[in-house]
């Protein structure tokens, strides 16, 4: 049942026609636990090119973070098992590489920013030590040089008085500053791709924008690829080039950012857009997608979204919709995408 949608892979788009930096191709991941097998990712494909930002959108449990962890090679295995697919970096399948080859990619070529910097930074080492570690381990620098580099990095992510604060511990920084340190750490070795897993979710609203802007700016400057994982549609609009919407371990819709906002082609995306509160609709009842995200151990047959979908017909309960290609770089995994596309976005 997991092979149906492989024939209809989304096309890698991106501004340049050059080969993508990273291609995830029909990835399958499951978690085998005592209570059963949870199918976390069921054939996900996407790609990112240099200088491009891909936003991966979805609720918790949609598989967006698991995909990211699989790319990074930091998935807990067991219970996680990769049951199919490829992850190509510069055209080479990383899943077939040796552990050592993959380790050399981590941090140097692909790096990651985590959601909660307080727990993602080691509480017992100074931030300076944790930044310097990148240089001493990967570049063989002396401790002294590495420390100078760390201060430089902290300056670059605009941490005030970096020189005085380099020996401070993570808990001594504010949330926004900690996330800047995470960004600095990810940037340390000039990677080609950064995966940011909900980088602003744990922050205050006012700080969110600052951190996001910083990240976007650094990405532009260095022409890096960026995979931005989020559940927040608001964050995405300004910075992303294209969006992949995930639901129950699949991509249900993929589109350039503007097109997706203007004209969603999947009922789930549409529901998400409609549930954003809007000032001009004051007084109207806020829309919410009914029901709950599915249990990954018992994904509904057919389209996983069918129990919550206002468009659902019998076919939705029996057949998994493939990702229909709508235009170049645009796809929808809905049997009735045309109907959805015609309807306007309420809200």
């Amino acid at each position: 049942m997991t092979t149906i949608d492989t024939k209809n892979k989304p096309e890698g788009s991106g501004p340049a026609a050059a080969a993508p930096l990273l291609e995830v191709d029909n990835l399958h991941v499951e978690f085998r636990t005592r209570d059963g097998v949870a199918k976390a990712i069921n054939g996900v494909s996407y790609d990112v090119s240099a200088g491009e930002t891909l936003a991966v959108l979805g609720e918790s449990g949609s598989g967006k973070s698991v995909t990211a962890q699989t790319i990074m090679g930091i998935l807990d295995m067991p219970p996680g098992h990769i049951t199919g697919g490829e992850i190509r970096f510069h055209g080479k399948d990383m899943l077939k590489m040796s552990k050592e080859e993959r380790r050399k990619i981590r941090g140097q070529k692909i790096s990651m920013i985590f959601q909660d910097a307080l727990s993602a930074l080691n509480p017992v080492y100074s931030v300076g030590f944790q930044l310097a570690e990148m240089f001493t381990v990967h570049r063989g620098m002396s401790k002294k040089d590495a420390k100078l580099k760390s201060i430089e990095l902290m300056d670059q992510v605009r941490i005030p008085a970096a020189k005085d604060r380099v020996n401070d511990y993570p808990h001594q920084f504010s949330g926004g500053m900690r996330q800047r340190i995470m960004i600095a750490m990810a940037l340390a070795l000039d990677p080609e791709l950064i995966i940011a897993d909900e980088p602003t979710t744990a922050l205050d609203v006012t700080v969110q924008a600052q951190v996001m802007d910083l990240l976007a700016e650094l990405q532009r400057e260095r022409n890096m690829g960026l995979i931005l994982i989020t559940h927040d549609l608001g964050v995405v609009a300004d910075v992303a080039d294209k969006i992949a919407v995930m639901y129950a371990g699949r991509i249900v819709e993929q589109a350039p950012v503007r097109e997706l906002y203007r004209q969603p082609t999947h009922p789930y995306t549409k529901g998400l857009l409609e549930s954003i509160p809007r000032l001009d609709h004051k007084g109207r009842e806020l829309y919410a997608i009914k029901g709950l995200p599915p249990n990954l151990m018992r994904i509904p047959s057919g389209c996983a979204f069918n129990p919550r979908c206002p468009y659902a017909q019998d076919v939705c309960r029996s057949e998994i919709p493939p990702l229909h290609e709508i235009s170049v770089g645009r796809g929808s995994a809905c049997h009735f995408w045309e109907t959805v596309m015609e309807g306007e976005v309420r809200g």
């Binding site: 005592r34 020996n167 401070d168 511990y169 808990h171 001594q172 920084f173 504010s174």
Partner: protein, 336 residues
């Protein structure tokens, strides 16, 4: 010490006399880690407030019971303990040899058809003595555990519930008792009392063994006291005894059970140690510890009289610790 004069201080865990020396305590501590075992945590993803606290423990207990029934440790320890308790109550079922009948001509015999485990220095049947020895050990273990649950539970509940100066005083008293290792304290106590009986051993172990239960109880009570439904119950005018009895205790009891079970094993071992040192149970009682002690003099001639009571003693301690371990695992989903 790193410089702490920076921002974000309020987030830090502080370490003051609120939670004093965490360090060494009863061995049980490490098997049952204190914080992990509150049922409170499990309640977190069951129904939250409105329906009251009774739902919480029941749901958690049911799940813990389901978990226990899937645990091989639970069955192994359960079967062993049923067997040992049965042996303690009805030793006559297992042997019709009188453990106190010691013909001097039969000393230090190897195991045979007549004497399954051989005979000891005095000529008594080792098998019979081993079977009859279970009773004293189990009585001491169970009675001492009951005693520490009462003492520790009471002190912990009072100090957790009322707080303030009462808490401070009780905490200092707890510290004082923690200051002397159990075996040392019991040794001095037993050497001081005039008549040694099973009950003086129970008293010695109980008086110096309640502190860990008190700390856990105090911790649980404080956690539960702060929870929403207890605050709600108080706002609705429920009195102190009612809150303690209906709301606080049922939630605090789970970690206490775990520690009590593991401590039971420790007490049995400590009693045997005291008896081994010749200062535990009176010589009139049949005790594994004392028998092991007298066996050491004849090790070269007949090691069996040491081996068999040692095995029974160790298996008894093992069973209680294993049971406590299984119960802890069932009640604490954290490390699954």
């Amino acid at each position: 010490m790193p410089d702490m004069n920076k921002q974000q201080r309020e987030q830090l865990p502080t370490r003051s006399d609120e939670q004093p020396q965490s360090a060494i305590e009863l061995p049980g501590m490490l098997l049952a880690d204190e914080e992990g075992t509150t049922l409170e945590k499990r309640g977190a993803y069951s129904a939250p407030d409105a329906r009251g606290p009774q739902d919480k423990p029941r749901g958690a207990w049911a799940e813990a019971w389901r978990e226990l029934r899937n645990s091989p440790s639970f069955y192994v320890s359960g079967v062993l303990l049923l067997f040992l308790v049965f042996m303690a109550i009805f030793p006559g079922v297992f042997t019709n040899i009188d453990p106190r009948h010691c013909p001097i001509l039969d000393t230090n015999q190897d195991p045979s058809g007549d004497h399954w485990f051989g005979t000891n220095v005095q000529g008594c049947d080792v098998y019979a003595r081993t079977v009859y020895g279970a009773r004293a050990s189990i009585i001491v273990g169970v009675a001492t555990t009951a005693l520490i649950v009462v003492i520790g539970g009471l002190i912990g509940a009072l100090s957790g519930y009322f707080g303030g100066w009462l808490d401070t005083i009780l905490a200092r008293i707890t510290d004082i008792f923690f200051g002397i290792p159990l075996l040392l304290a019991a040794l001095v106590f037993m050497s001081s009392v005039k008549d040694r009986t099973v009950w003086t051993v129970v008293a010695a172990l109980g008086v110096f063994g309640w502190m860990q239960i008190a700390r856990i109880m105090r911790g649980s009570v404080i956690t539960v006291k702060k929870s929403d439904y207890v605050v709600a119950a108080r706002a609705l005018g429920a009195g102190t005894p009612r809150i303690l009895g209906r709301h606080v205790l049922p939630n605090a009891i789970a970690p206490v059970i775990v520690v009590a079970t593991i401590s039971l094993g420790t007490f049995i071992a400590t009693e045997a140690t005291l008896s081994f040192l010749g200062i535990g149970l009176p010589p009139t009682e049949i005790s594994w510890g004392a028998d092991i002690s007298s066996a050491t003099t004849a090790l070269r001639d007949s090691p069996y009289q040491l081996i068999f009571p040692s095995i029974f003693l160790s298996v008894t301690v093992f069973s209680f610790i294993l049971l406590g371990d299984a119960v802890r695992d069932a009640l604490d989903p954290k490390l699954r």
